[in-house]
């Protein structure tokens, strides 16, 4: 026993303490509990991993039986292998940094204790998700992080937009979870268990003619879950709205950790996916499409957090593409580097917003380079990393993915390269609009406190150097490399695309500031289409939400319920009533009428009994 349970239990204890006693505690105590629990968890992760050594085989611990019924036996079982190890370090490490950052960022907000309680709860569920040793427990974490996402997006619950965004996030995720749940049901039908250790060998040994149907179905349903959680087409719509939450939340949940759960899950289920090539193709294509589409939307947004949100969707598309083409190691690698630079981007953006007292519109920024230089420097690190400039972290991971895509299908590579150019463009567009040129706002920016700058610095370092962590090689025992060899030309093209994007951004927003507007005007309809996010929300609203609500109200409730069913019941009642009214005429209250009826009756009885022979 290595007491793996301590890893999630520590943040959970923090959640309980802060949730129950936090309101009466001072901020310092709340900070100590919240940050301390995550820090201890991080340390425990490090200690555990060090003591586990090479982790050639997974280390699993079973604590108690959760659900036992019929053939089903689901244990509360945690496990660590190399994949989990990477995730654990990312989650607790980045989580710790963001917790520290939050103590500064949230210092002036109400509901301080509530925020940290939710954050700790999120850490708990995220750790359960990555450490679970069966699908049901993973589902616990899966839904749990969704819950925390809901709570944290709706943290500023006085704002209607925030609570609406929270609902949207939860419900859209629920649709994904629907797929996940169905996949679980199918797994039990097929394998009779939900344990990873039971399913994967069985799946690997299944003869090919059997796998086509059932395993493809399982894999696709799992992927439906992933599209919800990892914001892929067509369920990505909740993520941009999720920026209503506080910025550290966007960084932790909606950039670094939770949204990558889908990628983790697909990688974890690689044994299933590899048996279902059709599903793999679907995954890859969905990832690629998401990457392109989100990147185009990112080109046009003016809210700094929205830009990064679409960037997140796009980068998640990359990761999904990676796992879709079989480069699971590359996907996880990009997951990690993305956690570094995207968390940094969000935290930096948070620092900018903090400095400007809540301003998020890029058009109201500008010229901040001099006023908040530390923030600028760290953001720049993140930007070069995401743009894929060598030798920074994004370069390595993105390159792995693009090479794998090329190996799988060259056209995917080219689409990926175009997306890379767009990525570089919109990130640097945001940087240039915020930090270069003249100030367009009336704010008096001030640099953020050290508690915010320190995490930025650490993340900047990781963004710059994180590419040298050999994640794919570390994961090779789990995911053997698919023979993708480094081709210098391909690398050069993708780097060139990134640089081109940066250059264009410089041209449009620094050297010739008017060019962007005129380009937008010239593109007209296309620009409006992209600017309005392809009207996807509106389409969903018109095709799904409104018919559902309107139909429920008009047809089901007022129609079927009140009309048909109650109508039928009331109809019976009305007929009885009519009959009663008819019969009531006999009940005149006139006693002699009654006597007459009695007379009638007695004559009848006499006739029947006496004359017809009843007496015999």
């Amino acid at each position: 026993m290595r007491h793996l349970w301590l890893i999630p239990a520590l943040p959970f204890a923090g959640f309980l303490l802060n949730g129950i006693f936090g309101r009466r505690a001072s901020k310092a105590v709340v900070n100590a509990i919240a940050v301390g629990s995550v820090a201890l968890s991080f340390l425990w992760v490090v200690k555990t991993l060090l003591s586990l050594g090479g982790m050639e085989t997974p280390h699993a611990e079973r604590y108690f039986t959760w659900i036992e019924s019929g053939i089903l036996n689901v244990g509360f079982e945690l496990a660590v292998d190399r994949l989990t190890a990477v995730m654990l370090l990312v989650v607790t490490g980045v989580g710790l940094l963001i917790h520290i950052y939050s103590t500064g960022y949230m210092a002036h907000e109400g509901g301080y204790y509530r925020f940290f309680a939710y954050m700790n709860l999120f850490m708990f569920f995220m750790l359960i998700l990555v450490m679970a040793n069966n699908y049901l427990l993973m589902f616990v974490g899966w839904e749990g992080v969704g819950l925390c996402s809901y709570l944290l997006i709706g943290f500023f619950f006085l704002r209607r937009s925030a609570s609406t965004a929270a609902n949207k996030a939860f419900i859209v995720n629920r649709i994904g979870d629907f797929g996940f749940a169905l996949a679980m049901f199918l797994m039990v039908v097929q394998f009779g268990t939900l344990d990873f250790a039971g399913i994967y060998p069985a799946a690997a040994e299944m003869p090919a003619e059997q796998t086509a149907g059932i395993l493809t179905a399982i894999a696709l349903l799992l992927f439906v879950g992933a599209t919800g959680k990892s914001a892929q087409l067509p369920l990505y719509v909740w993520l941009p709205d999720a920026m209503e939450g506080p910025t550290p939340v966007s960084a932790l949940i909606h950039a670094a950790t939770m949204v990558t759960a889908g990628v983790y899950m697909v990688a974890r289920s690689s044994a299933l996916f590899l048996q279902a090539p059709l599903a793999m193709d679907v995954v890859a294509i969905v990832g690629l499409l998401t990457a392109v589409m989100a990147a185009t939307i990112g080109l046009t947004q003016f809210d700094i957090k929205k830009v990064f949100a679409y960037s997140t969707v796009s980068q998640l598309g990359y990761m999904v593409l990676a796992v879709g083409v079989g480069a699971f190691g590359a996907g996880i690698f990009h997951l990690m580097t993305h956690a570094f630079f995207k968390a940094l981007l969000f935290l930096g953006a948070g620092s900018v917003i903090h400095a400007l007292s809540g301003e998020q519109d890029l058009r109201a920024m500008g010229g901040l380079r001099k006023k908040i230089p530390l923030t600028f420097a760290t953001l720049l690190c993140a930007a070069v990393a995401i743009a894929g400039v060598p030798p920074f972290s994004g370069f390595f991971s993105k390159d792995e993915i693009l090479l794998a895509a090329h190996h799988h299908a060259p056209w995917m590579y080219w689409v990926g390269v175009i997306t890379a150019a767009m990525t570089a463009f919109y990130v640097f567009r945001a940087i240039f609009m915020a930090f270069f040129g003249d100030s367009r706002g009336h704010h008096h920016p001030h640099e953020s406190p050290p508690s915010m700058i320190l995490p930025l610095a650490v993340l900047a370092l990781l963004s710059l150097a994180g590419g040298f962590i050999p994640v794919p090689r570390f994961l090779e025992p789990l995911f053997p490399a698919e023979g993708a060899h480094h081709d210098f030309a391909l690398v050069a093209v993708s780097v060139g695309a990134g640089l081109l994007g940066i250059g264009l951004a410089w041209l449009f927003y620094v050297s010739k500031p008017g060019l962007a507007d005129s380009a937008a005007a010239r593109l007209g309809a296309l620009y409006r289409l992209v600017y309005n996010k392809y009207f996807v929300d509106e389409i969903y609203d018109a095709t799904v939400v409104r018919p559902l609500i309107g139909g429920s109200r008009a047809v089901l409730w007022r129609g079927v319920d009140a009309g048909v069913i109650d109508g039928a019941v009331n109809g019976i009642a009305q007929r009885s009533r009519d009959l009663g009214i008819l019969l009531r005429m006999f009940q005149s209250g006139n006693i002699r009428s009654y006597a007459a009826w009695v007379l009638l009756g007695s004559v009848f009885v006499l006739a029947v009994l006496g004359v017809m022979g009843g007496l015999r």
Partner: protein, 102 residues
């Protein structure tokens, strides 16, 4: 020894009963109606006694006796009710007493 046939007694009973019913149906005065009920009871009593004779059992007399007791009780209560009704409505017309319907 020649006596009247039993059926005569029974038919007399039937006639008296029918007369009672007729009075009940066609008379309007509540007291008369009440008296017609007594007439019907008497008609029934006659049948009881006649059958008792025929069967050579005394039980029929007992029943007739009970009928009389009930008639006495009924007369006491019924007449008290008539008094009340008359006091409340100043009328003895039976058709006026019809509000106890439904």
């Amino acid at each position: 020894m020649e006596g009247a046939p039993l059926s005569w007694y029974l038919i007399l009973s039937a006639i008296l009963f029918a007369l009672g019913v007729a009075g009940f149906l066609f008379r309007r005065n509540i007291i008369t109606v009440f008296m017609c009920i007594e007439l019907m009871l008497n008609a029934v009593n006659l049948s009881f006694i006649a059958f008792s004779h025929k069967l050579n059992q005394v039980d029929g007399h007992i029943y007739a006796f009970f009928v009389m007791v009930v008639a006495a009780a009924e007369a006491a209560v019924g007449l008290a009710i008539i008094l009340t009704v008359f006091k409340n409505r100043a009328s003895l017309a039976i058709d006026d007493v019809s509000s106890m319907k439904y």
